[in-house]
């Protein structure tokens, strides 16, 4: 059954890339340019997985994670943070915010698909 994945990143290129990488999984992908927009989108429709950048204008990935966790229907939705290797403290923060896991940028499509299939088994 096809699920909906929301990708959140202020870089259009990155969102496109993720969407392309996820194509083989057959899931629908919706996009948001920052945390605030993602939160609006998440409220207007239920998504099954959130893949979000950490550093974004308006609202970053960590705050988005916290906000989403406060919404009952998102209490258990997996949230994957996209991070860079220069942010080791992020893991602590991500965990505290309630994220499910992380993917280090740059990543390759197989890794992304592997992570997605673990949290969203068909």
């Amino acid at each position: 059954m096809s699920k909906t994945i929301m990708t959140v990143d202020d870089a259009t290129t990155m969102r496109r890339m993720i969407a392309f990488a996820l194509k083989p999984t057959g899931h629908a992908v919706v996009e948001a340019p920052d945390g605030r927009a993602a939160l609006d989108l998440a409220r207007s429709r239920q998504v099954d997985l959130v893949i979000t950048d950490v550093n974004m204008p308006n609202m970053g990935g960590l705050e988005l994670t916290k906000e989403l966790r406060a919404i009952p229907s998102y209490a258990r939705v997996p949230i994957i943070l996209l991070t860079t290797e220069s942010d080791p403290e992020m893991k602590n923060k991500g965990r505290a915010a309630g994220a499910t896991g992380w993917i280090v940028k740059p990543f390759n499509p197989e890794q992304l698909v592997a992570v997605v299939s673990r949290v969203l088994p068909n």
Binding site: D10, A11, T13, M56, P78, S86, P88, R95, G101, N108
Partner: protein, 786 residues
């Protein structure tokens, strides 16, 4: 070979990164000037962070590496561990330039280029080495090979992972993983938090263990609700990125539609098909709205160009050891994107010039009793369908004596002319090719090539430049440019049986010399025909001679039509056989075979479907060798003359008749303005009349007495201008009363066409003056008889 997807991704990446770097520059300057807020440093950091992340995924490794070094420095700044100073900001600006260069290389050749940035990278590392190094966060060690960048893998799935990206600043040992974050499974590239749901059905225990994950919303959700009410749609919802090519195509199509509209409207008007008239009118209206709408989508704020100026001003003034404060007003003034492109270089040049030649060194300024910081003030605003841009400085002003001397020295202007020149005219000499007054030639404003190119480039897009200066007080350069280039108002003229369109921006006035006086008023000076216009000599150019067309048959020639034109500082009269209407025309470029012709700017399709060439007024003047500087003088004096003798301030009533261009009559001719319900109109014989103040008021439908005639649909109530004389009144029915303006009527000439007594430039637009008496005489022959 790169896949089209990767090309698309790289194209997106380029746009995004260029934009990000522009903002980066601005934010750094803001930081330097102390106008930064808390978000500024975040934004600065994010710009580089995004470039790094995306470049990594796209497999652009050198870029990623360079971005990484900057990110480390910015990370320290963001955390407050490193304070910005002039040195850091200068280095970061250079750093942004280096990234830009790589982006440009990527755009042009597909690789980042080979420029060696090691010195810059070393400098960046040095800058971050200054604070306590031990606290610098270091990147996680790449124990596993770096993942193959996503896009590279997309392009060629079999590609082996490229060499690991080794972070350049990982000299100090990595902090041991915090015990608080044990991970259940991970490799270098990804992982799950042990206590977070790694599978869709997490155990209840896990959910309880991880505090933020809770089935019941915690109390902290209250602000969420509040935010929901205030949350606004994101930019992504309200704006989309559109390919410029699409917009150009749309504009082209609208142009075609305008042409078709002109043809239909003209056809229907001449066929007097009353059933089709309202349809034509609606088509007319919708086309105009569509045209405006499409033009709007192509509009960009001038800030797109200006945003780069703070950086330029900073660099140039530092280089020259000057202190300059830049102020801008009207950053949101919008222009067509083609024009934005065209003014970028001229404006930049003027700016550099103002700092170099205009604003003095701090020492000189102090001596002159001015503040050390020079002011550079940019202003943009819309006026009369044009955009005005002003660049003001409070510097030394143009040294007119020096300019004259230079011009003389270089033999650019004859001595006698220099002697007669006013200061204002002398100022404008700076636009002459080959004139440079800088005592020293500097890198900044070049070697005397420049201001003439600025002028040519601005005139190429139908604009004009003027400079005013006061010694010791400063210089103001004023630029006027049209809003768009694609659809312009133009005057149609005839010569040798052909029709030509003349862009209205070049049009100064229309003259008609009756044949009796024509021979007398045209004189020859050194074989060049001139006309004495208000005591000044106006060189004449005969269009049929220039283009080798048939001369008009002398027997039918009753008068001489002179179109007074201005371009490139030249003023001349173009002699044509006849003058027709003004019309919105769509400029079509000429084919390659014809583009070398200097006299034509393009072609257009007229209302009747025929093609007409658009005259290039500047080219014509050059072709006919009308002297340039001499004309500048004449034009300035003509303006004075006009102010003295010709220009009378008049109050005009502006109105419209059908879909014709706006018309005017003097308010003194308009007795009263009335709105009369159509139901009150009665018929007396063939005449339409209404009862008005106890009299019978005959109505005249103005449309029927204008060229093209027709029964333009009349509004209900009807707009009626009541004309009274000797106790008698007559009502002129027009479509709409638009405005009453007081304006210096610059032109008033007897171009007698049906129902029109002449034309005047009112608020920058050529407006036909209605021949009120003529129309009344035609409709009510008995009216003026006593």
């Amino acid at each position: 070979m790169k896949s089209s997807l990767q090309q698309q991704l790289i194209a997106d990446f380029l746009i995004e990164s260029f934009e990000g770097l522009d903002q980066f520059d601005q934010d750094l300057l803001g930081l330097e000037q102390g106008s930064a807020d808390g978000e500024t440093l975040n934004r600065i950091f994010r710009a580089i962070h995004s470039i790094k992340g995306t470049a990594g995924c796209l497999g652009i490794q050198r870029m990623e590496k360079v971005a990484h070094v900057g990110e480390n420095l910015l990370s320290l700044m963001r955390e407050g561990r490193l304070k910005a100073n002039k040195d850091i900001i200068s280095t970061l600006l250079k750093y942004a330039d280096a990234l830009r260069e790589m982006l440009r290389n990527l755009e042009q050749s597909g690789t980042e280029g080979t420029t060696d940035h090691s010195a810059l990278i070393a400098r960046l590392q040095e800058l971050q080495g200054e604070p306590s190094v031990a606290s610098t966060p270091s990147p996680a060690p790449s124990s596993a090979p770096a993942p193959a960048p996503a896009a590279a893998a997309i392009a060629t799935p079999e590609t082996v992972a490229p060499e690991a990206v080794t972070p350049p600043v990982s000299t100090e040992p990595n902090p041991p993983p915090t015990s608080a974050a044990p991970t259940a499974e991970e490799d270098a590239a990804w992982g799950f938090f042990s206590d977070a749901p790694a599978a869709p059905a997490p155990s209840a225990a896990a959910a309880v263990e991880s505090a933020p994950i809770s089935a019941t919303p915690p109390t902290s959700s209250a602000p969420t609700v509040e935010r929901e009410t205030t949350s606004r749609g994101s930019i992504a919802d309200s704006a989309i990125r559109v390919d410029v090519g699409h917009l150009d195509k749309l504009m082209n199509l609208v142009g075609e539609l305008v042409l078709a509209r002109n043809q239909i409207v003209q056809h229907i008007r001449s066929s007097r098909d009353s059933a089709m008239l309202p349809v034509a009118q609606r088509l007319n209206l919708i086309t105009t709205e569509l045209q405006e709408g499409v033009m709007k989508t192509r509009m960009q704020p001038i800030d797109n160009v200006w945003a780069k100026f703070p950086r330029i001003v900073r660099d140039v003034s530092q280089e020259l050891g000057k202190v300059v404060r830049l102020e801008m007003e009207g950053r949101n003034t919008e222009l067509d994107r083609t024009i934005i492109e065209a003014i970028k270089d001229p404006l930049t040049h003027i700016l550099r010039n103002s700092i170099d030649h205009g604003i003095e060194s701090p020492a000189k300024r102090r001596a002159a009793g001015k503040s050390e910081a020079g002011l550079l003030y940019l202003r943009a605003f819309h006026e009369g369908g044009q955009v005005n841009i002003e660049i003001m400085d409070d510097g030394a002003g143009v040294n007119t004596a020096r300019v004259k001397e230079k011009a003389l020295q270089k033999g650019l202007v004859p001595p006698e002319q220099i002697a007669r020149m006013s200061d204002r005219e002398a100022c404008n000499l700076i636009f002459l090719p080959g004139l440079s007054t800088a005592e020293k030639i500097s890198n900044v404003s070049g070697r005397g090539v420049g201001m003439d190119v600025v002028k040519t480039n601005i005139e190429k897009i139908g604009g004009s430049v003027d400079v005013q200066s006061e010694a010791g007080q400063g210089t103001t350069i004023k630029i006027k440019i049209p809003l768009t280039l694609a659809i312009i108002p133009a005057l149609t003229v005839r010569s040798g049986g052909e029709r030509f369109a003349i862009p209205q921006v070049n049009l100064l006035e229309l003259l008609r010399v009756e044949s009796g006086s024509a021979e007398n008023s045209i004189e020859n000076i050194f074989d060049a025909p001139v006309y004495r216009l208000r005591g000044k000599l106006l060189p004449l150019v005969f269009l049929n001679r220039v283009l080798s067309l048939e001369p008009p048959d002398p027997s039918t020639l009753t008068s001489l039509n002179i179109v007074v034109l201005q371009a490139d500082g030249r003023l001349f009269g173009l002699v044509v056989d006849s003058v027709s209407d003004t019309e919105e025309i769509v400029v079509k470029p000429l084919g390659k075979q014809l583009s070398g012709l200097t006299c034509f700017a393009g072609a257009t399709i007229m209302g009747d479907g025929q093609v007409a060439l658009i005259l290039d007024v500047m080219g014509l003047a050059q072709h006919a060798q009308v002297a340039a500087v001499e004309r500048t003088a004449v034009s300035a004096k003509t303006e004075e003359a006009q102010t003295d003798e010709q220009t009378r301030r008049q109050t005009l009533l502006l109105f419209s008749v059908g879909d014709r261009p706006r018309m005017a009559m003097t308010l003194s001719e308009a007795g009263r303005l009335e709105e009369i319900p159509r139901a009150k109109v009665e018929r007396a014989g063939r005449r339409e009349v209404v009862q008005y103040r106890g009299q019978i008021l005959p109505l005249i439908r103005v449309a029927q007495h204008l060229p093209g005639g027709g029964e333009d649909p009349i509004a209900d109530p009807m707009h009626v201008v009541v004309y009274s004389e000797q106790g008698r009144s007559v009502g002129l029915v027009v479509s709409n009363i638009e405005d009453i303006v007081e304006d210096a009527v610059r032109v008033e000439h007897r171009i007698s066409r049906d129902g029109i007594v002449g034309s005047a430039v009112v608020h920058g637009r050529v407006t036909d003056l209605l021949d009120v008496k003529g129309i009344i005489r035609e409709a009510e022959p008995a009216f003026f008889e006593s």
